[in-house]
Symmetry: C2
Amino acid sequence: MKKVINNPNYVVEEMINGLIKAYPEYLKRVDNYNVIVRKSAPNKKVALVSGGGSGHEPAHAGYVGYGMLDAAVLGEVFTSPTPDQIYEAIKAVDAGDGVLLIIKNYTGDVMNFEITKEMAEMEGIKVESVIVNDDVAVENSLYTAGRRGIAGTVFVHKIAGAMAEEGASLEEVKRVAQKVINNVRSMGMALTPCTVPAAGKPNFTLQEDEMEIGMGIHGEPGTHREKIKPADEIVEHMLNKIFDDMPLSENDDVAVMVNGLSGTPLMELYIVNNKVNDVLKSKGVNVYRTYVGEYMTSLEMAGFSISILKLDEELKRLLDAKANTVAFKVL
Amino acid sequence: MKKVINNPNYVVEEMINGLIKAYPEYLKRVDNYNVIVRKSAPNKKVALVSGGGSGHEPAHAGYVGYGMLDAAVLGEVFTSPTPDQIYEAIKAVDAGDGVLLIIKNYTGDVMNFEITKEMAEMEGIKVESVIVNDDVAVENSLYTAGRRGIAGTVFVHKIAGAMAEEGASLEEVKRVAQKVINNVRSMGMALTPCTVPAAGKPNFTLQEDEMEIGMGIHGEPGTHREKIKPADEIVEHMLNKIFDDMPLSENDDVAVMVNGLSGTPLMELYIVNNKVNDVLKSKGVNVYRTYVGEYMTSLEMAGFSISILKLDEELKRLLDAKANTVAFKVL
């Protein structure tokens, strides 16, 4: 795979520099760490920290800012950030009201964030954590015990971030984050592999007429491979997997995210959404908000995921609250 | 190239439906036409209409909304919209204060928009037009006499749209649109071709170690092909081409857009911006705002463009004015 890079070993460093230079009005870096925090000093409020391996941009640094995260910790490509990095993020943003860690369910992430939580607690910082495991495709996977955390995580950032911005307590922010996790389900598929720059070769192969259903955001295996089908059939299959796990009833309200993994053009994501919306409407489900775009990517992989979040009045209010980050804005 | 579609002949129709279903709070379709207008009725203000072939999403429908466009006209993939479609857009949004057409410089677009302008004028609608030709790579091209219009067009939408929203006259809105055009320069490159769905095969070929410099957003030939170089060298070459055409002086203020053509991940666009920013700073140029993302794409093509807009106080004010569209928001 062709890449516009300089040195595969410095992609994260150069990406962070390019990001900060692009958006100095939003973001700053904690010196000597791969930690990105809000430009303005933390308010008196609960602080939200997320992170994970790089290669999923705009996740998570693109969600640092008003109404969402306070800090993002960036690991190497597809590699969990280390506890010393996470610890710096917590220290940088704690304003005395406590810190919520939003962790995607990968074994390395969970281990390193949880170790750091204990370190911070020993220093007297109140820390809570939630683990996002929205991917219904497979139980247990290459890097995961249980289900993987994928694009549904962005809903956790948005909604818990809005709650924190309202001045809620750490317990309340954690409660609403967990409510999102309990009510969000996702499923992905891939048309092409991706190449970790330092590895230099694709992490798997697919034939020219083949797709993989249930693929993870690091190229972890999905449920099966088959010949590429029409978009509508792919969508129906994926939604059925989601509905098997989280049944929806008539008059339920949902938010939809059709997330591009990076190599798939917006045109195709809109075609996917056309069917997602039809299927939901045919079940009498009310689509309250839809987000189509690249929210959690996999380097240059072609493919997409669908996330469905079941909403109540509290979640609707927080989803629509003002947000001002590089990658997610609500006026 | 693998695609998530149903029928190659209906991609534009299904895309429009998927877009409107995603964002009913922003957009509606003019019945029976490939014309997308703002959800809310047009205010008393100058109306802005743009459009062109599909395959460049989020351009242009993603820029319909408060502070930017009033209507976007969508042609078939890489094909100019027809005069009857453009005419419907003009009629749908004219509120009596006149309409500005923002046209990218492709022969078909210019012809069809200019024909329609005459039709509308005969019906008593005041219509003015501007032609965007920001691409410095080549003079004359596959579909163009003169220079091509590419991602710099988004700056025209943003700034002219803000001027119209302030209540300025058609002449004033046209003046500021032309000021943007006079002060914006872009250049692109590609790593891979793209495939028009109905054609079913790539529109050109590049070797696995090759890139094309100066490539257009429909795969039109650029200045030359060469082996892929490090990102920093590519950026220096492209910026030098821009500076040759639009010299910058110490203390000039600029806006930068690093635009992904679709297949290139955000990580690489940030790495590109890291160098763009360094080169501009080394010349003493002040980077006032930077936008990194996918603003004008080419189906699934991998590659990017750099746009540089020289700013004065008026352009800065309008660039920062509130905007609320699907693909471009300023709080």
